[in-house]
Symmetry: C2
Subunit: 581 residues, 2 copies
Amino acid sequence: MYRSHTCGELRQRNIGNEVTLAGWLQTTRDFGGMTFIDLRDRYGITQLVFNMETNKALCEKARTLGREFVIQAKGVVVERSNKNPKMPTGDIEIIVSELNILNKAKTPPFTIENDTDGGDDLRMKFRYLDLRREEVQQKIMFRHQVGHETRTYLNANGFLDIETPFLIKSTPEGARDFVVPSRMNPGEFYALPQSPQTFKQLLMVSGYDKYYQITRCFRDEDLRADRQPEFTQIDCEMAFVEQEDILNMFEGLIKHIFRTVKGIELGDFPRMQYDDAMRLYGSDKPDMRFGMQFVEMNDLVQGKGFGVFDNAELVIGINAENCAEFTRKQLDELTDFVKRPQIGATGLIYLRYNADGTLKSSVDKFYSEDELKKWAESADMKPGDLLLVLCGNTDKVRKQMNELRLELGNRLGLRPKDVFKPLWVLDFPLLEYNEDDNRWYAMHHPFTSPKKQDIDYLYTDPARVRADAYDLAINGVEVGGGSIRIFDKGLQAEMFKRLGFTDEEAQKQFGFLMNAFEYGAPPHGGLAFGFDRLCAVLNGVESIRDFIAFPKNNSGRDMMLDSPSTIDEKQLKELSIALRG
Amino acid sequence: MYRSHTCGELRQRNIGNEVTLAGWLQTTRDFGGMTFIDLRDRYGITQLVFNMETNKALCEKARTLGREFVIQAKGVVVERSNKNPKMPTGDIEIIVSELNILNKAKTPPFTIENDTDGGDDLRMKFRYLDLRREEVQQKIMFRHQVGHETRTYLNANGFLDIETPFLIKSTPEGARDFVVPSRMNPGEFYALPQSPQTFKQLLMVSGYDKYYQITRCFRDEDLRADRQPEFTQIDCEMAFVEQEDILNMFEGLIKHIFRTVKGIELGDFPRMQYDDAMRLYGSDKPDMRFGMQFVEMNDLVQGKGFGVFDNAELVIGINAENCAEFTRKQLDELTDFVKRPQIGATGLIYLRYNADGTLKSSVDKFYSEDELKKWAESADMKPGDLLLVLCGNTDKVRKQMNELRLELGNRLGLRPKDVFKPLWVLDFPLLEYNEDDNRWYAMHHPFTSPKKQDIDYLYTDPARVRADAYDLAINGVEVGGGSIRIFDKGLQAEMFKRLGFTDEEAQKQFGFLMNAFEYGAPPHGGLAFGFDRLCAVLNGVESIRDFIAFPKNNSGRDMMLDSPSTIDEKQLKELSIALRG
């Protein structure tokens, strides 16, 4: 062992001890006759002291060391005269008697500090240096802890960690697969799993009844910001359960993680119907840290001669409390915000409920003071509040208002990073229609069970069929979701038919699962959490990247490895494939 | 919830309770007025009782049910008149008052019993049914437990579970990679990791100092029996350590697993030099459950006119205790065994030390009784023992004698399944020469550090360089191995040169690692255990397959999924690849 202690553990009680530390040189400070070195490892920083008077040679040696040198120092722990209460080791320092250079270091291309001078690309190329920065280390260690507590809870509840294969079968349904040519089976390919969905269902058929796995999943999608081609899922499934059992079990998991990792006691999670979430927040994952529910105003505003409202499918408002005194500039900013092409509203209408009780709107000429008063009442406005109104096609205006609501939440400080508001969203639609492909798609996946009472609509009004499907949102981010599964071969076959599969296609791609349903499949259901995302949400940050040790950039490249890369013609030949010109 | 209890938990104390059970119908037995059903889940079996007299309709319904039906039964727990002490639930049974069929089942293609009538191929095709068999479930649950205890130990010792990427860069060194065409980077490929080796070393450079991961690895090798193209590794690495620290840490892990999972206290693990293992056992993973060390006999047997021995590079014997009375037939069987083409010896020579003190060998005419006495002494023979002798080229004869020793161990019952003998094998050679390719290969991998005192031989006598490399063998099976790594860019570059890399090739393939070594790399080392293999060894079985939920066959096919399979031309086009004709 190159060390007797880490750089984070020495305290007053160790004064007088002979110790050996090893780590990285964070900084050197020379003060005339003294040299101080901050020695760093993942546990902390300890101050090393060298004195020109008592040991000139050693002090001079210390002065030759550069940033990020790996050194080993032996010495005695002494009390600091000038204590640093900000550091856990700030009461002590080491009078060094022996100093060994374990490895030299070139000057790193950026500083190893939270507030580094390195840009994104440079840090990704030198990820092994970026990973030394304390804020990144904290995130990697945080992830470890969340994984550990997840396992602790699930193991304690009788779940079995069962590994499922990575080299599986490609299916065109869902997102695009990554595929792997098989050398031993020329012309054939494996696919990497988008999730272990079918395997965990088969495990239920096999009687394992409580399964989990923290496992990598793969999707070859065009990458949006902060999407990774490989990501990690906390994947779970249970048999002989109903939706309520699953919600309780995994609400328990999230509470356990918050309790153990964050020291936060979450109360029972509220639940909301998907339809209500869309109606009141324009989102299937509303941020519940603040109110500002949508108010539907069609009855109040239509038929008064204001064409914009009259022609709109839906008119909705939100009450921004205490914002009546927003300046013209602030209102213009919000108007510009909703008019951005990504949001696409045509305009924003406001109503000020002034402190003196008067009302002032941008459409005064169409509405009387009495009528505006009714607007105010419908939105529970008090003097000093501001009503913001959007209108248009129902789906679009809800999405636009959702964006405006979140933006206002940000501007008004209503989305604090250290407050956590979970929400179960229930009863998602089973299907959604895709106009481009002219067919229905499963909103969750084709194995999700329709609600019993809605099954008949499958044939008459597919849009109306609700699923036994649920999502967990925290602070407006979807951290997990799942469903009760179909476990009847006939219903599963019917489902594939609804999705445009021929019987033959369904059998070819999912025959193994449908056949399994014929040999005694129990009722079952489950869910999966996005592990990377969950870690980010728990830290109140948006980017998942620093919770992944070696992430890829938005082109799916690993900048450090310079991968993907070309392979030899010999290798291609062995795989019975060729590049296209 | 479909059940109040599992099928394994009801006992005497539950008598009188109203319960609901759910599970699979294992067997039905009709006795005139009564019907008994064994209801099964992964926790056990509980007997359900139906009575024609008290509830005719229900009893008749029960009689319609087939094997593997999924049913739910409500009823009251009563004491059995005819107790079954072999079953944990054998004291009780359930008088059923309500019976629900949750799902029907076709008659399975083989019986769901340990002693099933299903052949290998059939069981693999219907793996979801095979996984219901109790002996397979025990293995899958055993694996869960080993994984859990591995994490418990490593977490308690400050290790961080850090995930490394699956979509990495292909390198021609080592085994063949599986590759993944990149759609977004046409003509380029990712590779699936053969191990996280370079990443865990980078994590050491990044300061994480104790890393582990239980992770999937991939090798596109021609599959021998019981090799899988994807397998799982318990992968570990530590910084600021020497070999001794690593051996102690992971000896502790294996002891912990044996203690917690098997209830076995292992003493301290013996250690053996690689050279001694080869000399005494002809194997780098000797089975230490029995002795029968090799005795080198050149000095005793050569120069006496027996040409076969005289011309041999090495003559070795093993003492089979108490086997002097082996019959002619038994000796012929052993001779046939060593002459099989896979082993390839030309013959087997024996010396009987009879109970009456006389000596009898198959080469009597070349050796006097006195000379044979010396053979016997050299091998510590007692009256009643049998000496078996092989000769030939050193490497070959050691391998042959290793096979013979293990075969004798089997025949003599010296390899009991419930005795566990671990052994560290140390100081492996750094390099091995491949005659076909006319170059040196790294015996472990190119990142393994040569022993300091042997570095000079790198240039003069590469075969002589020993590595800081170690393997852990248990009962003759290699369960893990590792090494202290090179952490100096110059030495790593030199190593690649020895392996026939040009500077350019080394930089292209491993530049990221060598560059990392320039920015402050700490001394580090680690090891990896084969998780599937470890589970098998802990159970005293050879096959890893039943410790894997969904294994592939020896052609790398998943028989259940029928994968790999063809993919659409559209998909190939998107990936910029084509099949070769």
